[in-house]
Each structure stands twice: as C-alpha cells, then as structure tokens.
C-alpha cells in the first residue's frame, strides 16, 4: 500500500454540455497528506471534488481513488470516504445525534457501533451538550462541525472538505481549523477546496492553484510563495488613486522585484521591506499609507492569473 497514491488522476476532464469545468488535470495525493485546491469561484474545484467523491462521472481521463476505479467502484470507494459538502445537507427534523447515527447506518454499521461512534464524534466536535437537540437552531459553525463529525462516522481513509469554512465568522473558522488540524495530526488524509489563502496556508501540506479548470501551479504554500512571489510585500497607497495609480507605479519601478498596480493600492514585491521603505522615502514619494507584510498565497494567485482571489 505504501507509495500508492490515494488519489491518482491523469488528464481528468469534466464538461457540462458546452462548458468545460475541469480541463484536463493530473493529481497525486499521498496517504496522510493535507492537500488543497485553491482558486476563485468557478475554477473547477468543486467539480473536481465531486469526481473524487464518486458522485460525478468524469467526461474523460483516468481517476483512481484508494487504488480503485472511480467510475466502476463508486460504492466501494464511497464506503471509505468522508464528505463534507459545500451546501449543508443535515436532516433538520432529526436530532444532532440522530443525524450521526442515521448516517452511520448508511455505511452498514451496527446500531451499537453507530451510537458509540456518534457519541465519540460529538465529543470530538464539541457538540455533546447539543446531542438531543434539533439541528435547526445550531449556528453555522456548529452545523459545519456536525457535518464534519458525520463525515468521520465511517472512519474514512480520505476526507473531502468542499469549502469547509465559507460563510463562517472568524471565531467559528478558527475553531473548525483547530479540529481539522487535529484530524491531520491523527494521520487522516484531508483534501479540501478553498478560496481563502489563509486557510490553505494553515491546513495544507501541498496545494494546487486552479484557474479556468486548469492547474496553474503546484507545491507547498511556502514553496509557491518562494517561486511566484517574494518574501515581503509593501502595500503603498497614494492620494488620488486609482487615476494616479499608473504614474505612481512607474515611480516605484525598481524599488522591488516587481510592481503591481491595483485599483486602490500599489503592491511592491521585495525581499527586504524595510530597505524598500527607505528607498521609497529617498525617492521623495509621499504615500498616504504604507504597509509591509509577509507574502501570501493571494500574491501567488495574483501573479499567476493577474486577478485577485476574492472579488
């Protein structure tokens, strides 16, 4: 089993009529990895996830999950997957605990084992005190945690999370990240999609950046930043932006390795932020604000596609 990828894809394509959602991608995800798809809405992340989850048939290409063929072994593969979908599909008329027990039974577990796992998982996602309550009054973060508990009920070899924290408030996101990090530490293989770079940086060992149905870059968050960006970024704002943006961008040329004018600010990619600040002052430019920060995956994405991730 060692060395065999959990997910193996070659030339994977998904078309819906005329529209090509996934335009031929290759993937290898190893056991124990936390693997991410980063990209804006419509990049093809969810379509890829649905093919990996064996609920959507690839239009072309080869896809093997857990060493089995995704098209022919759907039920056997799904028996060993845990899926946390983008849209909540918990049963609102069942209690929190019944949601888990009912779902465990879909995997063929005995009643006693289903109950045992439900209680254990409610503990894990910190919902034990809500076990007998309805799902409807739970907050968005609690519902998502319950969905993740549900995805773990069959002790899956591979957990798929489609935008796990979209729509959650910051506190709920951090709580969820912390739980997912625990799963990762236990050696669970995680595959997630996100359009949040901080999420990808926090959780993923390795990720692919998708745009227009293709993979445009691949690597660890660190290596992607090193390859496609610089150590630091200086965000400079001037009075009179955006009209004056191009002029100021010209004036900043040479301060760093690259200059990117955005509507509201100019990004300067540099290795040493403080040195760049000194240079800006030396040139007598008078910005209304300056911010030096570490480079993020957002910068990688901007560089690769010329667009920002979240519009």
């Amino acid at each position: 089993m060692a060395g065999q990828p959990l997910i193996y894809a070659r030339g994977l394509v998904k078309r819906f009529g005329e529209f090509t959602a996934v335009a031929g991608i290759d993937l290898d995800v190893a056991p124990g990895e936390a693997f991410g798809f980063l990209g804006p809405n419509g990049a093809g992340k969810s379509s890829t996830m649905r093919m990996i989850g064996c609920v959507s048939t690839p239009t072309a290409g080869e896809l093997r999950i857990l060493g089995m063929d995704a098209v022919h072994d759907g039920p056997r593969i799904r028996a060993r997957l845990g899926v946390c979908p983008q849209l909540d599909n918990l049963d609102p008329d069942l209690t929190v605990r019944e949601n888990l027990v009912t779902y465990a039974r879909y995997f063929g577990l005995s009643r006693a084992e289903s109950r045992r796992r439900a209680d254990e998982l409610l503990e894990f996602v910190q919902l034990r005190d809500r076990a007998g309550g309805k799902v409807e009054p739970l907050s968005g973060g609690m519902k998502r945690r319950l969905t993740i508990a549900r995805a773990m009920v069959n002790e899956p070899d591979l957990v798929l999370l489609d935008e796990p924290t979209t729509g959650l408030d910051p506190q709920a996101r951090h709580l969820l990240w912390e739980r997912l990090f625990r799963l990762k530490q236990r050696g669970t293989t995680l595959v997630l999609t996100t359009h949040y770079m901080d999420e990808a940086e926090q959780l993923c060992d390795r990720l692919v950046v998708m745009d227009g149905g293709r993979i445009v870059a691949e690597g660890s968050p660190r290596s992607l930043i090193e390859t496609y960006s610089t150590a630091e970024v200086v965000e400079v704002r001037f009075p009179g932006m955006p009209e004056a943006g191009a002029r100021y961008a010209g004036a900043l040329e040479g301060v760093g390795k690259r200059v990117d004018p955005l509507p509201d600010r100019v990004l300067v990619y540099v290795d040493d932020g403080d040195a760049a600040l000194a240079e800006i002052q030396r040139r007598g430019l008078e910005p209304s604000s300056v911010l030096v920060r570490r480079s993020t995956l957002e910068d990688v994405f901007l560089h690769l596609t010329g667009r920002t991730l979240v519009d």
Partner: protein, 263 residues
C-alpha cells in the same frame, strides 16, 4: 488499514434498510400529525358517507352501502398516503433538505433510496389499513375472511402508485407541478375508480379511464375480498396490472433519482 477491515466486517445492515430507518426515525417524531389524515379521516368518511348517504342509497350490488363502500375507502386511504407522501417530501429531500445528496456520498445507491422510501410507505399504509379494518369490524362491514388479504392488496397499490409519483417528484424542479398532479390525476382517480359508486354507472366514454387507473383494480380486489365474491375481472389480471405499474414506476423512479443526483 486495520480500521478498514473492521469497517468492512461490521457491515450488518443493507443500505435499503438504512434508508427505511431514516424515514422511520423521522416518522417517530412526526407521527401524531398523520393520525388524523391516515386514520381518523377515513373513519369519519365511512360514518358520513357509508351511514349518512347510505341511509338514502339503500343497497348497492346486493349489499348495504356501508359494506359496499368499505373496500373503496380502504384502497382510497392507501392511495392518499402513497401519493401524499411521495410528492412534497420527495421533492424536499432533493431540493431543501438535500437528504438524497447526503446519501449519495455514502454507499447508498439510488435504487436503495427508492426502495427504502417505498418500504416506508408500505409500512405507513399497512398500519392505517389495519387500524381501519379493526374499526370496520365493529360496524359489520366485513363479510368474508378474505378481508385479511386487503392489506396485501393495499401494499401493492401503494407501490404501484407511489413509485411513478416518486419518479415524477424526482423529475420536476418546482412544487407547482404537484397541483396539476392533484387536480388532473389524483382527484379524478379518487372519484371515478369505483370507490363511491360502481364504474358501470360511468358513461362508456369515461369507463376506460377507470380501467386504466391502478386504483380501480385495487378497489375491485379489496371489494371482492371483503364481500367474499369474485372481482370484475380475474384476480391475476387485476394484480398483474398493479404489478406492471409498480415495476415500471420503480424503474422510472430509480432512473429519475440517478439523473437528479448525477452532476
């Protein structure tokens, strides 16, 4: 990897049964709401039409009107539950609850979803029908021990009606189509399938509609059973016709589920 072998070995329940269980778990929470429509209403119906109207009608085909109408109300109860529980709840489990999408991510297949749903309806109908029969005994509405097979007939009717309606509910995107179903199919089927009066009363033009309706065949079989006489057509023809609807409906429903859940 040890975990997986354990999981595989622990597989003790069929996915169809697991789906049935989900419906039963939900029903345990909501059953009170169904008592009136599935049980009290048919009894009220029997009292008002069977005894009230029956007092004016006198005898129909050689028996008192109450005894004549009992099998009709019986089949009609099964019909109402079968149709009623295969419309909004099926659409809702695709559109609002997305319960079928949740099942799709597990080893549960569309055929399990459909079978689990239909088994649940058979359970619901059987309870309602048996309860109704018990009440009817006290009114002297049953004339033959063959009445014991009526729950079987009602179960068959349930599948032959619920399966195609489930297929319909899994095909449409909007619940407004249900009002068409209720007005153009369910209501005429309830009125012209020999529940309240013999189909021989219908003009020759309308009579084929009764023959086409699975409901009429179930009513005929139930009436033959509770009155202890032969049905209009041979029993295998009535039962076979219901079976054709059930099998065709099952096929269409599974296909509709598969299409809805693909992509």
């Amino acid at each position: 990897m040890a975990l997986r072998t354990e999981t595989a070995a622990a597989r003790v329940v069929h996915p169809t049964v697991a789906v049935l269980e989900r419906h039963l778990t939900l029903y345990r929470r909501l059953w009170q709401a169904s008592v009136f429509s599935s049980f009290v209403l048919p009894v009220l119906f029997l009292l008002s039409i069977g005894i009230g109207v029956g007092g004016y009608v006198g005898r129909v085909q050689g028996v008192d009107y109450l005894s004549w109408i009992v099998p009709g109300v019986l089949a009609s109860t099964a019909f109402q539950i079968a149709v009623g529980e295969s419309t909004y709840s099926v659409l809702g489990d695709f559109k609002w609850v997305r319960a079928y999408h949740a099942m799709r991510a597990t080893p549960v297949e569309p055929v399990d979803m459909v079978r689990g749903h239909l088994l649940y309806l058979v359970f619901r109908v059987t309870i309602a029908v048996v309860a109704f029969l018990v009440v009817v005994v006290f009114f002297g509405g049953l004339h033959s021990p063959w009445a014991l097979v009526t729950p079987l007939v009602c179960a068959l009717l349930t599948v032959s009606v619920a399966a195609p309606v489930t297929a319909f509910a899994a095909t449409i995107d909007h619940d407004s189509y249900f009002s068409l179903l209720f007005r153009l199919v369910v209501l005429p089927a309830s009125l012209f399938s020999g529940v309240f009066f013999p189909v021989e009363q219908l003009t020759a033009v309308l009579r084929p509609l009764a023959y086409a309706s699975p409901m009429w065949h179930a009513v005929e079989l139930c009436r033959a059973a509770t009155l202890g006489r032969a049905p209009a057509w041979p029993v295998p023809v009535h039962a076979g016709y219901l079976l054709v609807w059930a099998v065709a409906g099952l096929f269409l429903a599974v296909r509709a589920f598969r299409r809805k859940l693909e992509d």
